[in-house]
Symmetry: C2
Subunit: 350 residues, 2 copies
Amino acid sequence: MKRLQDLLRIEFPVFQAPMAGSQLHELALATSEAGGLGCLPCALLSPAQAREQLGLLRAGTRKPIAVNFFSHQPPQPDAAREAAWKQLLKPYYVELGVDFDAPTPVSSRQPFDLAACELVEAFRPEVVSFHFGLPAPELLARVKATGACILSSATTPAEARWLAARGVDGVIAQGAEAGGHRGVFLGEEVDTQMGLFSLLPQIVDAVDVPVIAAGGIAEPRAVHAAMALGASAVQVGTAYLFTPEARPTPAHRAALASDAAEVTALTRLFSGRPARSIVNRLMRELGAMNPVAPAFPLAGGALMPLRAVADGDFGQLWSGQSARLARRDLDAAGLTRWFGEAALAATAPQ
Amino acid sequence: MKRLQDLLRIEFPVFQAPMAGSQLHELALATSEAGGLGCLPCALLSPAQAREQLGLLRAGTRKPIAVNFFSHQPPQPDAAREAAWKQLLKPYYVELGVDFDAPTPVSSRQPFDLAACELVEAFRPEVVSFHFGLPAPELLARVKATGACILSSATTPAEARWLAARGVDGVIAQGAEAGGHRGVFLGEEVDTQMGLFSLLPQIVDAVDVPVIAAGGIAEPRAVHAAMALGASAVQVGTAYLFTPEARPTPAHRAALASDAAEVTALTRLFSGRPARSIVNRLMRELGAMNPVAPAFPLAGGALMPLRAVADGDFGQLWSGQSARLARRDLDAAGLTRWFGEAALAATAPQ
């Protein structure tokens, strides 16, 4: 099999994980320019914002770039459930002096749609990656027709087989260690999710396309380990949040740099879908997987007024399980090269 | 640091994980004879059985051996909770035609106590390992006085620091991938448990003693990965269950060899403490972490009559997350050498 970096014409098999809400084009640009694969997450951008950011990324580098989209089905609104959720949060509104009767903001995540497809057709990013499965076949075919390399995340061997059967060019094996949203799309259970030690080799054995290892990869030892388990590339998320090109909120940045980052859990409180966050007050007090929180992505709306006052207590603090291992003294270019040199050493013929 | 296999005078840095209920001395004997470190689990043995099994192990090999004990605190009996648990199981008793009014068997796990300490003093195993923390200081001091190398499992960096501060000679980093009981002993939460990719290097960085990697290690790729992350040895459990020297129940053996082994979860149904099992009917129908199940180890009692009729549906099917990667054509000696050669290759100077 041809090396993934040769297929993609990148220097290092190091992918910067898309981190919607914690980065814009700057991080992707610096990563791609340094020889890795930078990625712009579009899930939290309006079509106009996505066009602007992708334009800035494309204009800033001649090297390959990636764009990431969520491919979930938007939920049916459920007024009763949303009211129950806001009621559950009422004591916090009262405590913080936030107006409970003001209209609840709407939390939105943009699924991949016709407008997004047209954006891809206009800018022709070298890589298009999806989270939560794949878009509808007719849209996927249009993305393929642009010549883009298509990736998606698998959290189980079954999901990897499903993706491979639909013609993806690579599978991101998202170990349970990973920060942010689990990419799970077959079933809804998360208590059966696998750590990367088990998931990665099983996916490598299950599919014939390159596998990118994700989750808990925050320094070179993990790069060597991922390559030993059969990865063709690594995808790094949390470690990039410490670089100046990332844009976590101040509360998020502070939590990542604190001892609290040693303790993370999957939670559905912030969006309605399970995602890994540093454990904070809301998770402790309501239970991280509380079923009252509305379906993705609606749960976040009622939290927005609370986050405006106390983001660290009521906002998502996405983090993988290896934040404490990440360096804090490198910019995105330096981090990319640090991982990249490890990856090349790990795959060099001996 | 001296190599762990040199300290222990074993050929390979390969530890056979103690699997109470699924093995006796035969598996430990074959592993030690082949150059690894075989381990006899005593948690489910009476003092007389433990003495017999340890005697057979000691007599069968002149090579180093390990013995494992649980170091939990026995719970306060709680008749109301046990009654509620049995009531929850009543539909199964009815369905299977099992006498609901017969006395409920008592499920027991032997904690490390004076009798166990005297056994250690009599047989002087080279390694004594504990699960669920450590025994009381005066008992631990007596074990140390025998010259045994003392190990215990850590499931978080905090637990590793706690163990190191109490003078263990090595820490077993038990990744969330591992089958059987989580060794968690500081706190009771399991939703914050780490995959081995994150746990292992953080423990390696946190303590000054050798770290043994456990969880999801079922073939040589994982051995290379564990060594890359800083492990001094690997501990292999599930893969040994496929060898003829292991003694899983027929239902357990069948489940391990089936596609069902791809899906495991942590459950407290079978013992009262979270442990990883292949998902079976009881877990699906009651919820794997159902809080009604009594405290460890009492939950298992009311299940015994059901297991006698339908073990696969109502019995623990302990398995790590990599069972599908395990070979099925080797005996314990062959498996030990297969892992051992990988471990020596992974640590050889290049």
